[in-house]
Assembly symmetry: D2
Homo-oligomer: 328 residues x 4
């Protein structure tokens, strides 16, 4: 029964990412467009269990499309992992006459939504919001493109000082399990080597690569290291290794950190967020549930939440090769 939905709720959960506000705005305005009521849930699943709700209209979300972070706040919730917690949430949604829920977040967020749906048959729809781009079923997660530009701008600045002093810099970027940020920003930042979680190239290759780069006349070098790189050493240990095993290098370390999560979203992320919000709401109105909306081949597509959670977002091997060639 496609048109049973009269009122939707939207929340953000897990780590925040640029574009979440644009997605909230899109969900709210798409509801307004279809004359559906819409409420916002604060602090993710925590606020869902407590009934921390606010009625939204089209004007409630003005001037947020360009803001980083999430106006709805985000939080991790242990209680929502329990049966009792989810019952509370279900009761609060019922009391507020909410018929469907849009959750914006990463796989932890989707897992919660999936279990909640299985227990209460409550219609849910997911929007992938995380800078890591580690979700199956979408070529781009919300915030990924913005984070790439943030990282590249930082690398450009570091390169200014690196090349003024002929230094070697190890720069750590986000990515505990996947190397998307490292790989793309490494290419765009002109890095000599990129260390990612998917590949253990070994310290020997790193040393070889740096030596080759030096011989070829490069006066400074940048190595991008994903948080979860496979080489088994953290970025400070890498510095020590090079200090001890290679001569003639003035090695420095820079950990970019949480700055990568913030900032005004790029045009790409704002458009993507707007599209995803429309697709999520309209899919719920059409009677769909338990899906994540995603960008596949430049089109909005639905992927079952279960697949989105279990699937793997793979590194593009072509990019690895491009990176190798570029550091010639």
């Amino acid at each position: 029964m496609p048109n049973k939905i009269k009122k939707l709720a939207v929340l953000t959960s897990g780590g925040d990412s640029p574009g979440m506000n644009a997605a909230i705005r899109s969900v709210v305005r798409t509801c307004a467009y279809h004359k559906i009521e819409c409420i916002a849930v604060y602090r993710g699943y925590e606020g869902l269990m407590e009934g921390d709700f606010k009625t939204m209209n089209a004007r409630s979300v003005k001037d947020i499309i360009n803001k980083g972070g999430t106006i709805l706040k985000s939080a991790r919730s242990d209680e929502f992992r329990t049966k009792e917690g989810r019952l509370k949430a279900f009761n609060k949604l019922n009391e507020a006459n909410v018929d469907g829920l849009v959750v914006i977040g990463g796989d932890g967020t989707f897992t919660g939504a999936l279990i909640f749906n299985q227990e209460y048959n409550f219609p849910v729809m997911g929007i992938p919001g995380t800078i890591d781009n580690d979700i199956f079923g979408t070529s781009h997660t919300l915030g990924f493109d913005t984070a790439l530009n943030t990282v590249v701008e930082a690398i450009d600045k570091i390169r200014d000082t690196a090349s003024s002093h002929n230094r070697l810099f190890f720069i750590e970027v986000m990515g505990r399990d996947v190397g998307h940020i490292a790989l793309n920003t490494g290419i765009a930042g002109g890095a000599e080597e990129i260390l990612i979680p998917e590949e253990d190239l070994g310290l020997d290759r790193l040393v070889d690569s740096l030596n080759r780069s030096k011989k070829s006349g490069k006066s400074s070098s940048i190595v991008i290291v994903a948080e979860g790189d496979k080489i088994g050493k953290n970025i400070f240990e890498l510095k020590d290794y090079v200090d001890e095993n290679m001569s003639g290098y003035d090695v420095r370390v820079s950990v970019l950190g949480h700055m990568q999560r913030g900032g005004s979203p790029s045009c790409f992320d704002r458009v993507l967020a707007s599209r995803m919000g429309v697709k999520a709401v309209e899919s719920l109105l059409e009677g769909e549930s338990n899906f994540m909306v995603g960008l596949l081949n430049n089109k909005m597509e639905l992927t079952p939440l279960e697949k989105a959670i279990k699937g793997k977002s793979k590194i593009n091997l072509e990019l690895l090769r491009v990176s190798d060639i570029m550091s010639t």
Copy 2:
């Protein structure tokens, strides 16, 4: 005979766009990687006819990946449109022992390359570099993503002052024949209405839309106008029309202009340029000719130059609908 190529040339032609330097760097480094010689041609086809060449190695292109414009300069050439002009170019390439040519530019550039190939059977490969995204055979041209961010940052600034004064702004963005920039930045900039060359929505709808927006409580409004909008009025005439036919508006005009062509390329454009350079050179080395490299479904693909020139790069109709819903 795939491996006959020993020396390549690369040039940029037509309007410049961010990412051209990153593409030049990629062509040069891919040649170095495959131990192929590479020369740069200055000032597009003009320099080709004059033999304005420079030998490049991997180090010649350092520190340019993040620079806007093109270090090889660009120019339009009437002479290359003549048989005599192309003969000159062919002779210069022969004298320099060049076996293949990579051209970076738009459809004018590709047309020149195609005719040149047809006359002399000279291997050519195209890389689409233009901010307008108006080339068939690639979802993104080089520079398009950067231009989108440049425009959105300008809109954000204008919105600050628009909403401080409850003003209506008409903002003109590039796009003589296609509305890609207008459509994407209009959504991302939160515009009330977007006027593009592909669609004549008529002045009445514009007036309706502005009135509706005012009634709904919006205190300021932004209308994005592509240079070539179909409504048949330029942006200053639009202002006059609203001044005369609508009351209660303080209307201003802003023409963003050439600023949109410059700037340090985004991460996306740098990665795209790097991939395209690799693909262009390796395709020539594999014996291909007369193609344009492009991004289709996140993969590098070849499209015959003829198709790239004649084909149409179409507006995504889903975006038009998203734009309508967002301005609720």
Copy 3:
């Protein structure tokens, strides 16, 4: 009687500028710090006459220090120029028990405040907020530094495309009566010539200068033109003049426009706004009235409003000379 003040009001008026929100925040928080009540007045003197007030506390102004524009809106008011209008305003302030008024704006704003004070002996204090830096009694107005960076970023982008095509660009920047923006951004943007309202260098010198620049081997040129340049031609007429009287130039025009008024304020403007807000409130609390706070020799100083309005903010002649030398 220094400590008679128990409640202050703050408003923004005239053209908006980056840093106005930071100044509002500072006024509100300084009131909170001194346990003084504070109300915000919306839409400048219009809102003052209508009693469009809102009580503010320290939390009311969170997250605005980095926002362009003014959350209090701005407007020009004809009615406040009349005796009746000012009486209305006085009555509204009395009804709300307001003892003093901080106005943020330019000389039009200060003139209104001065007359209001003269009629009702109502304590007023001015904060200079305008991007033009055209106020006597402060080395920097709020928003000037931010506007300089906005303009320079735009010039940098335009130079990318100018030098790719060997073009001559005329770029119009704000400054109807003073050339501060033109002069500073012209130096910082590497302009060949700078046309300002304070100086009529004559078309002949412009032509000479461009010819010299061309001979010296420059492949592209940028001329910065203040809106109110003395040469008596607008920027499009300048282009026509060069097109007709000089050969070998491909001339383009770019009018930067309202973009210059917006954007997140620079560090300098945020700190300046914070200092000015403190000084304005504390001066009122100390019994001062009818002054403008300003930055002189890196210190906060008071200048009588009358002087601020009548005085002239002069161009630094040293900068004119530096500009000449730099375009060698």
Copy 4:
């Protein structure tokens, strides 16, 4: 004898800073303007001793005004601290017929220049280039303003994620001996507390301040910590302290690092660099020596190198107070 100088040399030394290239450009162009020869020295005092020189003309420095770092490279030199080293340098300068030397750097750089002058009576002039603003005799060192903006943009991004998660962030900024960067960016970034080398406020006050901020309803907090803060704990120890001694905080640390040294210089730094280069060259031409050029009360002034080195660049106490009031 004012006009004995026929040829100048310029070098950069010590840590690089944004604006150094603009200063090099200014030195070179001012020489060209006065028809004086000019050579560039690579790698600071190292290159001076080796004769690593390059003749410069006005065109040699095109397109560098907007580039971070230093095209002349920088290096620290132990050898120049020896008599033998300085003799080498003197001989190289003599061989090249150089009559005067402009050094761009910090107090280490100036100390070298001073001793060199004392030994050989060689005319030297200093330009203060360092982001720390720790030089006596100038209100602003080259690069300081740019670094402030870089830091504030990073804080803005971190605040997005901080306020989405109600977190407390400790952010480390540069400043081993002086708190200028911390103090200005702390105010501009809306920090709750600022820890600087000049002041030991003690852990108790930090704890108090955070508790007060929490009670007042703030949902997230940022504390800016200068590298050399007096509290005697590094930033990770601060985090541990709060984790152990305060409840209800989710504390994170971000070390901004070398990114702060790079980036395209702000308008302010480009203009300052242009003015300083002119003043340095013209002072040498007028027969002055052993001075540093500086900005005092918006004018170019000379300070004896000895004073510049020994003097103290003091924190503006007014800013400390403004910071306190703003975190109300």
